[in-house]
Symmetry: C2
Subunit: 361 residues, 2 copies
């Protein structure tokens, strides 16, 4: 097992990784004096597979436990679900010191994180991510969000967890499509800041897709370290540093919005987005064609789709202009200068944008 | 005019007070580079009296302006209203750099503050408080909140404004009952930390109630300074210092919840709460009976009610135990040691609590 610290002053916390990390949950929470009662937010699949184990770990240590199962889809990030959960939490939180455990993937983490951030102006939050995507990306860094009909992640807060417990023992039960979705975020980390990891992925795609223990531990720890370093420098995405983590996400979110979250996984959507951003990088004279081809080839190695079907180019562009990372009427994209080096650029000409999008449609 | 700074590191901001402060709005916002488009959240009364003036100040300076009128009552702090506002904001916020102006009293400030805090994980917020209560208390310090059926202010965030513009020229149009409500918070500041202000209030109750300009400027500035100092030391109410600002609020919130916000103003409710807390202080041997009598007499001088009618003692106690400031099953009250000195106490015996509550029922 390994402990990676996210250094954020009085909001610092540990990410515990490796096999069996979840068994340490109760002892860690006791040490943090985090409260008396766990309010576990999860989905039906995770509850069925691992719910009993987590409850028993907590109960044996004397914690009160209440479980709230929410739908297993982006629907759980609606304002309706968020407020249903908050009201359920409020109705149960009497004479207790309650903390929230987000037990599931990225959707659960976003929704539970938002609930913990705003209930009583913030109660302690624990992430126990059970998907590869949540372990390498969304459980670390404090972004929480729910969606509006007007766009993805439009409501939220920066709210750091008190601890993240990232046990790779959860991963073998993950459907292959979900593993691939996590791999898209891993490719993102490699592309924006770690050429060594990029090469590792090129050489070990098959091992990772088959949930090889050693390969997974390596990439999970590496991604968490990259994210921790970036978040430490720009926690609230105010300095333009954290923005590079959105590589592929502007187009990706637009695809998710336009397809109402029903056609592509988040990972698939950002795979398209990374390809589009790489094409923008090439067309803007920043990236070598060969590097763009390497990215395309790596995405294909992980059996992630490289062409989205039945999408309207104009709708996609309109959806992007709602992106909360855009400033005023200026568009803003994370582009690559090389494999392992990303920068933020503004005012990409519409012509270049359209041409880049056509390569993924 | 006067500028009071709230020193909170990179979240520091100015409170501009005095007559005519609102005329400086556009220039101040330009200096802050706060955005291009104002989204004004207000109520029908304020909009009718002062809406045109504020819009014209902003438009003349080149700001885009959109106005959202919400109901003039605690109903505006419902999750339904908050999300209606957020969706309206999202639908209008395309190709803009929008900031929120909370233009009204405490309810508007709480609701608009929450909207600004969570929309896109936080956009700039400006408070232009138009009631005495909002000017002396709720516009400063960064507390935002909406209510749940389960209790008042159960959802919210700590979110500081970028500037507060507190123009006493708004106050003469305020109904007398609203002036009194503000006076309850002013009495609170005096009771918990400023014996000199307490004496001033004893001598100038009539002048303040008749909106005497000089008296108002004195008390508004004094209260803002007190609040700024306390918030600077304990922004997120984690160190037990900011907690004293809740003097009278535990019982007060319970009264508001039990009467569904329809019988008493917030100020009236906390007047009862301060009396109950003073009685607890006396019964616990902390406060002199004479000081308790002075507080009772000052509250009566401001024609605030000293007895609530038709309230059930047990319901009131049950509502208090939902208070988010309670820790586990321990109750927690702000009590007085003297006029001008408050401390936090826990585990007040139920017998003392019941006896204290009976004095206001």
């Amino acid at each position: 097992m390994e402990t990676i610290t996210v250094n954020l002053g009085d909001r610092s916390y540990s990410v515990i990784t490796g096999e069996g990390a979840v068994d340490q949950t109760a002892a860690r929470l006791k040490n943090l004096r985090i409260g008396s009662d766990a309010y576990i937010i999860t989905n039906a699949v995770v509850e069925k597979l691992y719910g009993k184990r987590l409850r028993s770990i907590l109960k044996r240590a004397g914690f009160g436990v209440r479980v709230k199962v929410v739908p297993d889809s982006e629907r759980s990030k609606s304002m309706k679900t968020a407020f249903d959960v908050i009201r359920d939490l409020a109705s149960s939180d009497i004479n207790k010191r309650t903390f929230v455990i987000a037990f599931g993937g990225g959707v659960i983490g976003d929704c539970a994180g938002f609930v913990a951030a705003v209930y009583k102006r913030g109660i302690p939050l624990v992430h126990i991510p059970t998907t590869l995507l949540a372990q390498v990306d969304s459980s670390v860094g404090g972004k929480t969000a729910i969606d509006l009909p007007e766009g993805k992640n439009l409501v939220g807060a920066f709210y750091q967890p008190r601890i993240v417990i990232s046990d790779i023992a959860f991963l073998p039960s993950l459907p292959l499509r979900q593993v691939r979705a996590g791999c898209a975020e891993i490719i993102k980390y490699a592309a924006i800041s770690d050429a060594g990891l990029f090469s590792f992925l090129e050489q070990n795609a098959a091992a990772i897709l088959s949930a090889d223990r050693e390969a997974l531990v390596h990439v999970v720890n590496r991604c968490i370290r990259i994210k921790a370093k970036i978040v430490e420098k720009d926690e609230r995405e105010e300095k333009g540093l954290r923005t590079i983590l959105n590589f592929g996400h502007t187009v990706g979110h637009a695809i998710e919005t336009v397809t109402k979250y029903t056609v592509y996984t988040h990972g698939e959507a950002i795979a398209f987005g990374m390809l589009a951003a790489a094409e923008i990088s090439v067309a803007s004279g920043m990236l070598d064609k060969g590097d763009c081809a390497r990215l395309r080839s790596l995405i294909a190695d992980f059996a992630l789709p490289v062409r989205a079907k039945n999408l309207d180019l104009d709708k996609l562009i309109a959806a992007q202009y709602r992106d909360k990372k855009f400033s005023g009427s200026r568009n803003r994209f994370v582009v690559l200068k090389a494999i392992g080096t990303a920068v933020v650029t503004e005012d990409v000409p519409l012509q270049i944008l359209r041409k880049a999008l056509r390569t993924i449609l």
